[in-house]
């Protein structure tokens, strides 16, 4: 099924059409959500610290 056919089927089956503008807005919202996760997430920060330690240890070898 090519992309246009899938899009058409989706519109018919789900009775929902999203304009290109709304699609862009929602994608930007998702991107902002990822950015917020990158800034706030403890695992993200901890893994950066771990990588920094590994690099420092490798540099000392």
């Amino acid at each position: 099924m090519d992309r246009c056919a899938e899009l058409d089927q989706y519109r018919v089956e789900m009775d929902v059409e999203i304009s290109a503008r709304w699609r862009l807005r929602l994608t930007i919202l998702a991107a902002l959500s990822l950015a917020a996760w990158m800034l706030c997430s403890y695992p993200m920060a901890e893994s950066l610290i771990v990588i920094e330690r590994i690099v420092a240890r490798l540099a000392n070898l």
Partner: protein, 619 residues
């Protein structure tokens, strides 16, 4: 080794035969779920049957030979059924439309596959060390192997007397004398879970891209990733309850009045639900919710609601009983309480004697562990805090991952909007009601323990499918890039810990069991069959020794400070502990110190003073 491989191969073969017999011509994605459910049932039934025979006094002890014979019998029955009832099948599925998988989804799948390869490379040659797994989940099948019995009593510790289908699968591996490859028991259910999520997401979005994206989102969840290589049982139970949802949903697409058979799908949904209910009590609530929902929906869409509803309930209950009745009957017959170790109290009146659920799963345990207050759950996907977590704070009971934070909250909001827009669409409202109900079960009776809420999380992922379909259908590079970036970040972080573990194994040359579990090798030299009281909660499993021939009693089984009476009661031969346990043990009159040395941790360089006492029992 050969016996264990043959046992699992026979179970898969039985599953394949029955799937082909009962579900020929059905879509392949559903047949895969059925295969996993039937194969897992075939793994469990011989264990249940042989254990029941031992409890009934028909055999001396549960033994791998009896298991092999029982598995062989099941396979013979399946082969006989195939010979008697198999008819030439016409492929009604037809040729599937070719699927042009988008570039970003291919790359994201490669990233997920890479992370799981790193996880497997770390887990397979290693040993399971996660807290609850090493403390009691693995101890239980090992105890069955050494005792040759599944017996419990009303005084057995709650950790050692719960329903245990996941541990029963591990028991087969232990019975073959193996400790490596234990996490393999999680992989079949994980495969079933991905197939079930794919089916549910496809049914909600009508888009194969979106369904596959949901699978990718699911596999990037750190709790799912880490449990796939662990001895925890949440993923195992989760997989089968979600499989039951997918099979139950499929049953609703059929109608007996239109000449289509629904019982097969309902029975399979029941089997899957039964495996989950026989794994963990927590899933009783989710199973009851799903069963009730399916019975009501089947009754509603029929012209004979009472008859159809009753028939659906009976079929479901029959399916549920097959893989779970053993545990509840064992509890009822040996302790008088079918829900043992759980106690049930209503309005101050004790209906069933046992441990209060709030003592097992403490109230407010989540506060301070994952969130500061209950309102903190609203931002948890973006913070993923865990107090005292490991390397990255991701673990078997913490973390949702970058892809969930990026798409799932927005996807759920989109789903709610879609349901409001399509008020007459019962399917959307059914899943919304299931999602809310699962959330309420997790919030109130399960006290917001994160891994107990995995059903809620997985349903959230499934509900994101229409959102992902809407955003991806136009094939824009912005969405593709975002999906790929979040997947790569999530996979890199979850793979960091296993990769670091593999690297340290090579750098510090850590290959032996004592080195990996970090315990003095003198434990391995203790005589076979000895009973060891271990104060080392996270190393209880380690104390079984390299030959797995020590019977380990965890200190939690004493329910208090050790006494000489405890030592007699549990027939303890040796006690092992570190510096902080010395004072507790040396008050006992029947112990004699036989070993005390510093054991140097090869990675941290720190040393721990280990002590080993011999118990001089007069019996």
């Amino acid at each position: 080794m050969l016996l264990v491989v043959a046992y699992f191969a026979a179970a898969i073969w039985t599953g394949l035969i029955l799937t082909r017999l009962l579900f020929a011509g059905e879509p392949r994605r559903y047949r895969l779920i059925v295969l996993v459910v039937l194969a897992q049932t075939a793994v469990l039934l011989p264990v249940h049957a042989v254990a029941a025979m031992e409890l009934a006094g028909l055999i001396d002890r549960v033994d791998s030979v009896y298991l092999a014979v029982a598995q062989g019998l099941i396979l013979c029955v399946a082969l006989a059924c195939h010979r008697l009832y198999a008819r030439p099948q016409i492929d009604t599925e037809g040729h599937a439309m070719p699927w042009n998988c988008p570039w970003f989804l291919r790359l994201a799948s490669v990233a997920v596959g890479g992370a799981y390869l790193v996880g497997a490379a770390n887990a397979l040659p290693g040993y399971i060390r996660e807290f609850d797994a090493a403390r009691y989940h693995l101890l239980l099948p090992l105890r069955w192997t050494i005792d040759g019995s599944f017996s419990i009593s009303s005084t057995t510790d709650w950790r050692m007397s719960m329903p245990a289908n996941a541990e029963a699968s591990m028991f087969v591996i232990f019975a073959g004398g193996f400790e490596h490859f234990l996490s393999v028991v999680q992989w079949g259910p994980l495969f079933g879970l991905t197939a079930a999520v794919y089916c549910l997401a496809l049914s909600l979005s009508k888009s194969r891209d979106a369904a596959w994206m949901c699978v990718v989102v699911l596999l990037t969840i750190p709790i799912i990733f880490f449990q796939s290589f662990s001895g925890y049982v949440d993923l195992f139970a989760l997989s089968f309850i979600v499989a039951a949802m997918a099979l139950g949903e499929r049953s609703l697409e059929h109608s007996d009045e239109a000449g289509e058979s629904t019982w097969r799908w309902l029975a399979m949904a029941g089997l899957a639900c039964g495996i989950a209910i026989g794994t963990k009590h927590v899933y009783l609530a989710f199973g009851a919710l799903l069963g009730l929902g399916l019975v009501i929906l089947h009754a509603r869409k029929s012209l004979r609601p009472l008859a159809v509803g009753t028939w659906a309930a009976v079929t479901l209950l029959f399916g549920i009983a097959i893989p779970s009745a053993f545990w509840y009957l064992r509890a009822a017959l040996l302790t008088g309480n079918p829900l043992h170790p759980l106690g049930v109290t209503i309005g101050g009146y004790e209906l069933l004697d046992g441990v209060a659920p709030s003592k097992i799963n403490q109230l407010n345990w989540a506060i301070g562990r994952w969130v500061g207050s209950e309102a903190g759950w609203l931002v948890y996907p973006w913070l993923e805090y865990q107090s005292g977590g490991r390397m990255t704070r991701y673990s078997v009971d913490s973390g949702l991952g970058a892809v969930v934070a990026t798409f799932v909250p927005l996807g759920v909001l989109f789903f709610v909007w879609l349901a409001w827009r399509r008020r007459t669409d019962g399917t959307l409202w059914f899943w919304l009601a299931m999602w809310v109900s699962c959330g309420l079960i997790w919030w109130y009776p399960l006290h917001q323990t994160l891994r107990f809420g995995l059903v809620f999380v997985v349903l959230s992922v499934v509900m994101t499918a229409p959102f992902l379909a809407a955003l991806s259908a136009a094939g824009g590079w912005l969405f593709g890039g975002l999906f790929l970036a979040s997947t790569v970040v999530a996979c890199s972080i979850v793979a960091l810990e296993p990769a670091s573990s593999i690297a340290s194994r090579f750098i510090f040359d850590l290959w032996s069991r004592p080195q990996i579990y970090r315990y003095p090798p003198v434990i391995d030299d203790l005589p076979g069959g000895a009973t060891i009281l271990s104060f080392e909660a996270t190393r209880n499993m380690a104390m079984a020794g390299s030959r797995l021939n020590h019977r380990v009693v965890g200190s939690f089984e004493l329910h208090g400070r050790p006494t000489d009476e405890h030592l007699r009661q549990h027939r303890i031969d040796y006690i092992v502990g570190r510096r902080r346990h010395v004072e507790r043990v040396e008050r006992l009159t029947t112990v004699e110190l036989i070993y005390r040395e510093k054991f140097v941790d090869p990675i941290s360089g720190g040393s721990e003073l280990w002590s080993l006492w011999k118990v001089n029992r007069d019996d």
